[in-house]
Amino acid sequence: MIVLKSSDGETFEIEEAVALQSQTIAHMVEDDCVENGIPLANVTGEILAKIIEYCKKHVEGGGGSEEELKIWDKEFIENIDQSTLFNLILAANYLNIKTLLDLTCQRVADMIS
């Protein structure tokens, strides 16, 4: 299990497989500096919770069909407000979670085009 600490002091304990979807965290695990939990100074508890929700669903393909996962993604991204979307983009970029970054950026792109 890996412990993540948000900027506002919340802690989240999650399975390694879930956390490893973040390339940033994966590198930290490789470099073996996760002894006392990983502090994420750039991410608030609220956003981190959302990210963990996404990563849990996407562990190993999501456990359902590709179609199901797409539908889940669609609902996930459509039910968040702009402010959260903005913060998710920044966090997904910082944590280097490619699929989440693509999903959030595509959302903004759809709004623009």
Partner: protein, 393 residues
């Protein structure tokens, strides 16, 4: 009408993005987002705010595509002319331009070439889809571009290559129905690519080249398509591994300098009888897909295919001679595992009524072709035996 659409759209975009939260993202993330948006809309974001004015200029991938056949729509040319020269991205990774018949006739279609060459362009796809107009040549700077990795030139382009041409990074070259200034131009072009691996060519009817000579030491993949009667092909590329040739010309293909043969894969669709050298060059393939005239099948069956594992044959007509050729082919292909016979023609002779139309068996378990049952049985026997072949005809 268009003006109203533009302002309406702008207002909608402004509404959605006016939260300014999104605008506060770092530039590289904004570029990441704009890459997911059609070029035209991305460029339109310049009007949103000061912040957005220059974001689109950092886009490394751009597309300007005219609808191929619509004459009434406004050409993308005006938009291209205004925007492309403002791009500030340090490297242009991808640029696709297709100009159709609605593009004004007398514009300088090549003037942006110099600019993108300076911006370290990596992949360029340029098509002039102008059926009724003369081919246009491009700036010479294109042929000395240090950063170009992929170049696709299509249709009404005149390939006029200077003597100092050098494309040191070019890996993939696609010449689709273009016209060459002369044969020397083509030779210069191909000689200027020291690391070229993929070459795709589609011949044009009067492209000023009689003998299309492919002399590229680094070449691995060649696709050559010629639907016309004229035009021959000479291949002198000893490293070639994959050959696709669709050739309806009367001319045979010459392959030079390929001892020993080292092709891995070949897809060949020809009208003429293949010559010995060509056949020998095919002998090393692991995968073979052939569409041949009848006498060609006969010739093929004389080749020793020491590595052939999968073979697909489409003879242009069938007769009982077929079967003997197939037998010989099996005999000469000790490693063959899959043989697919695509029989497209109806048999003229009632006795040989085993031709099914459009029949393709994906593996040996074909129930539809009674004639071939013996054949396939022989095939299976071959696999069981380590050496020696028993052929039951």
């Amino acid at each position: 009408m268009e003006m109203q659409d533009e302002t309406g759209k702008r207002r909608r975009i402004e509404e959605k993005v006016s939260e300014d939260k999104i605008s506060a993202l770092p530039e590289d993330l904004l570029v990441h987002i704009l890459l997911l948006v059609p070029t035209k809309d991305a460029v339109a974001t310049a009007t949103l705010s000061k912040r957005w004015r220059s974001v689109w200029k950092m886009l490394p991938r751009l597309e300007y595509i005219d609808a191929y056949n619509s004459k009434s729509d406004k050409s993308v040319w005006c938009f291209l002319d205004k925007s492309l020269l403002q791009v500030k991205a340090p490297v242009i990774e991808n640029l696709r331009i297709t100009l159709g018949p609605s593009c004004p006739a007398n514009v300088d279609v090549g003037k942006w070439v110099d600019y993108v060459v300076e911006r370290c362009i990596q992949r360029l796809y340029f098509t002039l889809a102008w059926p009724a107009r003369k081919p246009r040549s491009l700036s010479k700077k294109l042929y000395t571009c240090k950063t170009l990795k992929t170049l696709n030139l299509s249709n009404k382009i005149l390939v006029d290559v200077p003597s100092q041409a050098l494309l040191p990074s070019l890996i993939r070259l696609e010449l689709i129905a273009v016209v060459y200034k002369d044969e020397d131009s083509l030779v210069r072009l191909l000689s200027s690519c020291p690391v070229l691996q993929d070459l795709l060519v589609q011949r044009n009817q009067e492209d000023n080249v009689t003998k299309f000579s492919v002399k590229v030491p680094s070449l691995v993949f060649l696709s050559y398509v010629n639907f016309f009667e004229e035009g021959s092909l000479v291949i002198d590329s000893p490293g070639l591994k994959i050959l696709n040739r669709i050739d309806y010309s009367e001319c045979a293909c010459l392959i030079e300098n390929m001892p020993p043969p080292c092709l891995d894969m070949a897809e060949v669709d020809i009208d003429s009888y293949p010559n010995d050298k060509f056949l020998t060059s095919l002998s090393s393939v692991i995968y073979l897909n052939l569409t041949l005239p009848m006498n060609g099948v006969d010739a093929i069956s004389a080749v020793n295919f020491s590595r052939l594992i999968e073979c697909k044959l489409t003879p242009s007509n069938s007769s009982y001679l077929w079967l003997e050729s197939i037998m010989r082919l099996l005999h000469n292909s000790p490693k063959l595992k899959v043989l697919i016979i695509n029989s497209e023609c109806y048999s003229k002779n009632e006795d040989e009524d085993e031709d099914e139309d459009e029949d393709e068996d994906e593996d040996e378990e074909a129930e539809d072709l009674p004639l071939w049952r013996n054949l396939l049985q022989v095939h299976r026997d071959k696999e069981d035996d380590d050496d020696g072949v028993r052929i039951n005809v």
